[in-house]
Symmetry: C2
DNA sequence: CGAAATCATCGAAGCGCTTCGACAACGACC
DNA sequence: GGTCGTTGTCGAAGCGCTTCGATGATTTCG
């Protein structure tokens, strides 16, 4: 392991000159810089991480708390954790993984020991322990997801209320006025993972405001059949469907409707909203208002890095505007089938 | 942030005494130890991570490379990454996440800068770039998964060949002699993720050795129907089924067979083998020979930590013996249905 | 009872880097 | 031609911790 001293010696300059030449934090003559760079690459010099951390008082590491609940959607989590890691790398930060049974202790430890410069909190519950802890730590923290009480916190998330509104608006614009929502499993709601609740709230409110008939079902199985049946019972003329649910349930919607003699998108137009999975592999691809891990993580990491490097910013919640991906699963109730679009 | 000097001052002893009292690396009188501990907890002292790393020349961090291929099973990955993290914590190590497009660079970087003390490699292909790189790094590395050429590498994985054998043996013991295997999607095999290949190999060989009729199908969809049809075409008397495939395919096996008038376990007995998901939520729970993330990760992390702390150990491959979880989805072909067992 | 071993503690030397202040050397400017 | 900025470089002071060797103090034992 070559050290900065070796490079300095090889280049015939002082240690500080090497440091400045490599960091660019002070002006260095081109000729010296070249010598230093040549020496560094000749020796394969890589600055020692801990030495740098200690001297600079910055670890260039951000911690990510990714709890695993029994009903956690691992696939979604992985996407977020990976996306955070990727975004962090773009700012030259690495990512430390903190697991659940360890989440509070881990946050505390990585903050108190200066192991991490900042923390990203994933999979936030309505009443999340980590929120209370976050308020006591002076380490920059960004939540991806929104707890009920956001006082003093920096949060980023998809605007689920707006996503629900967008879904309803699209269906209404297509002449659909009997709109069902398939939400999440009861146990997910009970755990108070917050986003399904926010989506529900947005859906209820906007359905009422828009004057459409609506119903909500909570799947009990890993398929849509039961939920669809429940919706039809309440709303026999169901002609629009919003899916804020798990992948397996959403994937079986078309089949479940087909079994009842109803087709998508003609009889029932459907939109998946606030979901992390892609529907393009489904038997029939569904229009999607995605919960885009990249979008959320990118914003969150940018903010966190800014907080680390430029000092704390005022706590605030950033809602990310929903976007719409059209696959042709919503058609006008009066028109004929429009061919599927990519 | 209280430093060790503050604690020393508060306790009225020297810095080194504090260090030894807290680490236990030299004998310290009980009275002094108590004073130090009191001072430390009074001040809320936490040793500064980078200072400790620098002085001790050990980061207590292990890196995990978790690539994300297009066809990667995120859920399985997350389990492994989490499990590694959990196991690492038990040895007082933290876990750094390295993402794919960054995997080689990341491994290099974390090793060269001493950011990580060791590396765990996940989701290993038959011809994995990371194997070649691993041979050039002097940093301890453990592979979870087995590349084709294991020269100079330390690898840990489920014994997939033995798992395939165990599955066949169980079915044969139940009088099943027409055994089908549902393997993975073609694209997964093409990428040469290695474990499906090893399973395939074990299955082929042991089916031949056992003198049973066998067939293999590769699912094309996210359900079992097509694969089952393919198997029945080749093996009309199909009475045993081995599932080394994805969760969605395995989950729909019972339904697919039912549509063809065949029941599980009477007409066809089935075993899921070498899979990370649990079948206990399936419409019908299937006997499982699990690819147990905890088992693999625990062994891998133990080995890695040992390599870090006690010096390199000779490269070798450790195969983990398969275990069998009985849910009653395999019954004797001559007996009547046995009630499902949990 | 003195020599040797043991124990408890301290001081100081790093670990490898960043960064501050100092200081030549050099033009620019009036 | 002195004064003032610039510019480029260097030395040294840490960052907070671990660990080695030294040193008294205390115990052990022949």
């Amino acid at each position: 392991m070559a050290t900065i001293a070796d490079v300095a010696h090889e280049a015939g300059v002082s240690i500080s000159t090497v440091s400045y030449a490599l960091s660019g934090k002070r002006s260095i003559s081109p000729s010296t810089r070249d010598k230093v760079e040549a020496a560094a690459s000749k020796l394969g010099y890589r600055p020692h991480a801990s030495a740098r951390m200690l001297a600079a008082n910055r670890s260039n590491i951000i911690a990510v708390t990714a709890p695993l609940h029994a009903d956690t959607d691992h696939s979604a989590h992985m996407q977020f954790a990976m996306e955070v890691t990727q975004c962090a790398r773009e700012h030259d930060y690495d990512t430390l993984l903190l697991v659940h049974n360890d989440a509070l202790e881990g946050m505390q430890r990585s903050a108190a020991t200066s192991l991490a410069d900042g923390i990203i909190v994933l999979d936030v519950d309505a009443h999340d322990d980590r929120a209370a802890l976050a308020r006591t730590l002076k380490c920059p923290i960004v939540f991806i997801g929104i707890p009920e009480d956001t006082t003093g916190l920096v949060c980023v998330d998809l605007d689920f209320e707006a996503a629900a509104e967008m879904a309803i608006d699209r269906l209404v614009a297509a002449g659909r006025n009997n709109i069902g929502l398939i939400s999440h499993h009861q146990e997910t709601l009970e755990r108070e993972s917050n986003f399904p609740l926010r989506f529900l709230h947005g859906f209820r409110k906007h359905a009422a405001d828009s004057g459409v008939a609506s119903a909500i079902a909570y799947p009990t199985e890993h398929r849509a059949h039961e939920a669809i049946a429940a919706l039809l019972k309440e709303l026999p003329d169901l002609d629009g469907l919003v899916l804020n649910t798990s992948a397996d349930v959403a994937a079986s919607v078309t089949a479940a409707l087909a079994e009842l003699g109803k087709s998508v998108p003609v009889d029932v137009s459907a939109i998946a909203a606030g979901v992390t999975f892609s529907t393009h592999r489904f038997p029939l691809a569904l229009d999607t208002i995605p919960l885009d891990a990249h979008a959320s993580c990118s914003v969150a990491v940018d903010m966190l890095v800014e907080m680390v490097e430029d000092g704390l910013k005022p706590p605030a919640t950033t809602l990310i505007a929903p976007t719409y991906i059209n696959f042709g699963s919503v058609t006008s109730s009066t028109a004929s089938v429009i061919p599927q679009v990519n």
